[in-house]
């Protein structure tokens, strides 16, 4: 472990794990689990959306495939969700690779529209295939605690598991970003034709990154199903879910392994607190999501991460902030 950043990530993980073992509050634990889950899902979205520039609005489809595959296998055949999770991931990856291959020529807005259609098709399919998915009624997963069943009495166990998932995915993304594949993906995102003309395998890498992204999104889906113990089309396969993954990654900062983590740490506790404390106004949390998203897109197109790093690390950034102390910093000057 000569890599300093990896050491810091693992240290942060260890501190968090110890902190969780000291927390007894159920609301706080719930917050940790959901923050971890959404950090994981946004990190997975980021592999496609942030690195290779495939802005997907259909990732709810993969989330749904993961949740439904493991739950159906578990409820009908008793197969452990740990295995079901991998099967769901592989199915989602195959669907994603094929779909990304089909939509290879679509760019930007059109790719977003095509993925939106994929999510909607999955929604309708899950409502209509009542013999398999039980339709709109949803599937109740029986509560039988046990490690093999991936169901636990204590929320702390869920928190340990999801944080470990987040750690592994973050390290995975970090090493991808550092490897030549990271540079290939950035090249494709910034100028696909130029990248291909220089020998980058555009189609394979786009299909690959979309498949990897879908694989991890499906794993997040399984974890969600095992945590909530109830799945139905309206909670899994809606556009908002896909949008939420994207929002978290974009607000944190796309194209970096820390961006989705930051986005999730800011947004999920905020929305949970809003929902818990101001529960007489429904919709307030989503309103704030939308406002933050618009503000970030308009004023900090690279997300909050570069902005925060600039304030804390970069001396020129610090000076600029001192020069314009009362929010007069002209942030969109470079646009």
């Amino acid at each position: 472990m000569r890599d300093k950043k990896v050491c810091i990530i693992i240290l942060a993980y260890t501190v968090l794990m110890i902190a969780i073992s000291l927390v007894g509050n159920n609301f706080l634990l719930d917050m940790v689990v959901l923050t971890g889950l959404w950090a994981f899902a946004a990190q997975a979205w980021n592999i496609a959306g942030g690195y290779s520039g495939q802005f997907s609005l259909g990732h709810c489809a993969f989330f749904g495939i993961g949740a439904y595959t493991s739950s159906i296998l578990y409820c009908n055949t008793g197969l452990s969700p740990w295995v079901g999770m991998l099967i769901g991931g592989v199915i989602a990856a195959i669907v994603a690779a094929v779909y990304s291959g089909i939509c290879n020529k679509l760019k930007g807005h059109f790719f977003a529209l095509a993925t939106l259609a994929l999510g909607q098709i999955m929604y309708i399919a899950s409502v209509q295939l009542t013999s398999i998915t039980k339709g709109s009624v949803g599937i109740n997963i029986p509560f039988k605690p046990g490690f093999l069943n991936m169901i636990f009495n204590s929320r702390a166990t869920y928190a340990y598991i999801i944080l470990t998932f987040v750690l592994l995915l973050t390290l995975f993304t970090y090493f991808i970003q550092k490897s030549k594949y990271g540079y290939f993906l950035y090249a494709i995102r910034d100028n696909e034709r130029a990248a291909i003309s220089l020998g980058v395998r555009g189609l394979q890498l786009k299909m690959g990154s979309f498949a990897v992204s879908a694989f991890f999104t499906a794993i997040a889906g399984t974890f969600y199903a095992q945590y909530i113990l109830f799945i139905d089309p309206d909670s899994l396969l809606v556009l908002f879910l896909a949008v939420q993954m994207a929002i978290i990654a974009i607000i944190g900062g796309t194209g970096s392994y820390l961006g989705p983590l930051l986005g999730s740490v800011i947004l999920i506790p905020l929305s949970m607190l809003l929902r818990a404390k101001i529960n007489f106004v429904s919709g307030l949390d989503n309103l704030i999501y939308g406002l933050i998203l618009m503000a970030v897109v308009l004023f900090l197109p690279d997300g909050l991460l570069p902005f925060i790093l600039k304030i804390f690390k970069n001396r020129t950034g610090k000076k600029a902030m001192e020069k314009y102390p009362k929010g007069e910093l002209n942030l969109d000057a470079k646009v």
Binding site: G49, G53, F55, L57, I102, C103, K105, L106, K107, G108, H109, F110, A112, L113, A114, L116, A117, Q120, I121, I124, A125, V127, Q128, L239, V243, A246, I247, I250, T254, V281, S282, G283, L284, N286, L287, Y289, G290, L291, L293, M294, V297, L298, P301, D332, V335
Partner: protein, 285 residues
């Protein structure tokens, strides 16, 4: 029965086409897919509903209120939001309008609430008999209004100076600018005109559908399918695409199953994106 379904499909489809035309116009000129389109439809429907409920205005006549309101809203949104990202990355363009949609639908949820409201008009359940065909009075009325709107807007785009400027900007913004067209102003006009079309179509939709904060999601995906099918930016394309989607939907609902008919527009969308991404009336750029 086939003929009856066909006619129903055309009527529903023409209305879908009008709903999608604003989206198409905005894309054609500004090159931005407005993901908040559904939420603008929702606002238009609420205006029509409240005009009827509080002032007793007929849904069709409510456009006298909703058109100016939506026009002003459109101009403000374009000036203060869309204008700033017109040259930004795809990501900024997609997610600014996604964020705007979230804000609008949740504002409606907070201030108006999640209840379903619907307008009652006497003629909604009556129908005309034309030979063996039965035509709902409401759908006949919406069809007439749709056709008139399409003709007026097409004439405007074709013959007036501002219409010509809009078409020029949509074909080639740089050249239009070189020819002395104030493209910044045209963007605002086009967005405002798109909102006017949304206001008219929303007034018609209110006759047949209840309004609630998330109603936009129901229409917006159909609108996306229609504009991709007809060609993004093409007004006649929106009408033709709308009719095609309407007919396919009604026929599939009748011959296959009601539940699966909603999948068909998406399959059409995917096939269309693959085979002819520029749409029926679109031109390749």
């Amino acid at each position: 029965m086939f003929l009856q379904n066909l006619v129903n499909g055309i009527f529903v489809g023409a209305m879908y086409g009008l709903t999608a035309s604003g989206l198409s116009l905005i894309f054609g000129v500004l090159n931005i897919v407005n993901f908040a389109h559904g939420e603008f439809i929702m606002i238009g429907m609420y205006i029509t509903y409240f005009a009827g409920a509080l002032l007793g205005v007929n849904p069709i006549l409510s456009v006298l209120i909703s058109v100016p309101v939506m026009l002003i809203l459109g101009v403000l949104v374009e000036r203060f939001l869309i204008n700033r990202i017109i040259n930004s990355s795809d990501m900024a363009q997609i997610f600014l309008t996604v964020g705007l949609g979230l804000v609008l639908s949740n504002l409606a949820l907070i201030f108006i609430g999640g209840n379903y409201y619907s307008v009652r008009v006497g003629y909604a359940t009556e129908s005309l008999k034309l030979g063996s065909l039965l035509i709902g009075k409401a759908s006949f009325l919406t069809f007439i209004v749709t056709v008139i709107t399409f003709i007026v807007v097409s004439m405007m785009l074709k013959y007036t100076f501002i219409g010509k400027a809009i078409r020029a900007t949509s074909q080639d913004r740089t050249t239009a600018q070189l020819m002395g067209v104030n493209t910044g102003f045209i963007y605002t006009v086009a967005f405002g005109l798109g909102m006017v079309l949304v206001a008219i179509s929303a007034a018609l939709l209110t006759i047949m559908f209840p309004v609630y904060p998330n109603i936009g999601n129901h229409f917006v995906v159909i609108c996306f399918v229609i504009v991709v099918l007809g060609g993004l930016g093409s007004l006649p394309g929106a009408l033709v695409g709308g009719v095609i989607v309407g007919v396919i939907e009604i026929l599939c609902g009748y011959y296959f199953s009601m539940g699966w008919k909603d999948v068909v527009p998406f399959l059409v969308l995917i096939i269309c994106l693959l085979v002819r991404p520029q749409g029926i009336f679109g031109t390749r750029t």
